[in-house]
Symmetry: C2
Subunit: 358 residues, 2 copies
């Protein structure tokens, strides 16, 4: 199978080699060194401001999304949440569960965030004394990549804490916490880090760390104070996904040695550009107003069901593309540009797409 989904994605040989070995015991100085190096490289690659910290959560990206809301926000806050798809909706639901007052900026599927969404229609929000802004930088469900410059300016102007889910865009599109004034960045092991799923990562700015220090989340597993205290010595409060953390270490060092984030971003961009330039004659419409290099969201214009195309490629061509759920299931499928993929892989995909769409 060739895997063009948005995660899990294909891994490189070094990651496979670690997966083929026994997982080592981890309450050791040796594993602590690995974890401290993981933190150092994650902070570097996120462009985190001086004094930031990173913690590694054994759980999906949603685990870290929820841990962030639980540890940084309280009923005294008011969050402004961009809701342009299922991951934006998920943040709203998490705020609701934890009693964090919030307003939504609702965007229909595929629509990008515009200046007027913040300045005109939603002026009322700031009047409600918002304290935080929450955004999935790349709304993975619909492939919309939000304008972080716009969001950054708005947050700086209004003094808002800026929480960024960068799960599917990290290492695919440029992102610099310090320049944007972002306080939190979340990502996961199974996107462009191209490791198995099971670990998510939270980066916290000094301002975010201050909030964590004074809050008291009602959860042992998601207590970031505990995670931070343990990570200071390169450990975790509970047995983590040790194997995946070693694979992440291998990947982070590989990226660093190859030239850092920009090389990875260019690789994703090259793959995305290549694919997008070669589907122009196919009955496929790109349905996002603002694309990430991570994913191309497509709507078949020949009347075919997007989900049927996914099934046909899987069952008859040995190819996974990424289906959508819910009301977009029949309308949209997505092609990812993350992980160990080559131009030749896309040539095969395009040949198969031509056949299926014919």
């Amino acid at each position: 199978m060739i895997n063009f989904t948005v995660g899990p994605v294909q891994s490189c040989e070094a990651v496979h080699e670690i997966g083929a070995q026994d997982v080592p015991y981890f309450r050791t100085a040796e594993f602590s060194e690995v974890m401290l190096e993981n933190e150092r490289l994650m902070l570097k690659f996120a462009g985190a401001p001086s004094g930031s910290r990173a913690v590694f959560i054994t759980g999906s990206g949603t685990a870290s999304m929820e841990a962030v809301v639980m540890n940084l926000l309280t009923p005294e806050d008011r969050a402004l949440v961009v809701n342009g798809g299922s991951f934006g909706a998920r943040f709203c639901k998490i705020c609701e569960i934890h009693g964090v007052p919030h307003d939504e900026i609702r965007l229909e599927a595929g629509r990008k965030l515009r200046e007027e969404d913040l300045t005109t229609e939603h002026t009322e929000y700031t009047e409600k004394e918002c304290t935080a802004f929450i955004v999935n930088k790349h709304e993975t469900s619909t492939g919309v990549h939000y304008d972080m410059e716009l969001i950054s300016r708005y947050c700086k102007e209004h003094g808002l804490l800026l929480i960024v889910d960068n799960i599917s865009s990290f290492l695919c599109d440029e992102f610099n916490m310090a320049e944007l004034g972002a306080d939190v960045m979340i990502t996961g092991s199974q996107k462009a880090l191209a490791c198995p799923p099971g670990v998510s990562i939270i980066i916290l700015s000094p301002r975010a760390l201050e909030r964590v220090a004074v809050n008291d989340p009602k959860c042992m597993y998601f207590d970031l104070k505990d995670a931070l205290a343990n990570q200071t010595r390169g450990q975790t409060p509970f047995t983590p996904a040790v194997g995946t953390l070693l694979q992440i270490n291998s990947r982070l060092k590989e990226i660093d040695a190859a030239g850092g984030v920009s090389v990875e971003v260019n690789r994703a961009k090259d793959l995305a550009d290549y694919f997008r330039s070669r589907i122009k004659d196919l009955p496929l419409e790109i349905v996002s107003e603002s694309l990430s290099n991570a994913v191309t969201p497509l709507h078949p214009t020949n009347g075919m069901s997007a989900y049927d195309i996914f099934l046909k490629l899987k069952d008859e061509h040995g190819i996974w593309i990424c289906p959508n759920g819910g009301e977009l299931k029949e309308k949209i499928f997505r092609v990812g540009h993350m992980g160990c993929l080559s131009f030749e892989d896309y040539d095969k995909l395009i040949l198969s797409l031509k056949e299926v769409l014919a």
Copy 2:
């Protein structure tokens, strides 16, 4: 390195082979089949009563311990918790965090649970109208294996919901939910299942499922209603540790084909008996009144620090035994009997122990 810790442990070749491969896309009928088979085999191996269900949580064993308390108990309950070490203490702390009233049966390190702990000293507990009993069947921190027959009788007599953390004892010692009247069993991927860490498993009896159905935990990630609804079709609410779940599937089928739980239990027992019979002349004292086949907890009687023995074996002999934390750090180390280990491995350990202890 040879790994005699209590997890992660050494895996078999089939598990390594899966780890060496790319993790497949999982929102497919193929992966759903794997997950439904995982559920079926876990229920079989736990001796779960008819109508039970299993869910797979991407997270450590503690994640599932907390999820169980959050989804099954409320401030209207009162739990009786056996606290004989750090994992018993953890359940008490989880109850405290979630406002679940609870009483502790405190047992000093190494001490087994006796009839009088339930009937004499603690009669007061039942007068407080307890509704649930929580026990780490094998208190892994000190290697004490509690008498489940005794606990089962007590729970049946008083109509208590019985929650059993079987994380380190599953597949090492006999356990049958239906016979014991247990309502919950928890285990993890990295103990006798001998897969990488990152997945924990919760089995719920029909009575436990009734409680889950009416409770409303304040957490998206640990919402077992959501996990159960998804598992009905072999899926999970969020991206799980797909690779580890495939490895678990391979191991469960391997165990099933080899004759089931009793074969695994006998294997652990043989390894434990072999090791214990061969250390009789060494200056080591077994410090548990009631041993599991999973672990042998040892105290050096020659004045050496237990932690120094761990370090020497690691740095000079290529062997991991399991150190203890906290106040037991210098006093106790543990030798595990889980995972892919042979009698020859124990011969090497004993030779090295002789040298280090001399």
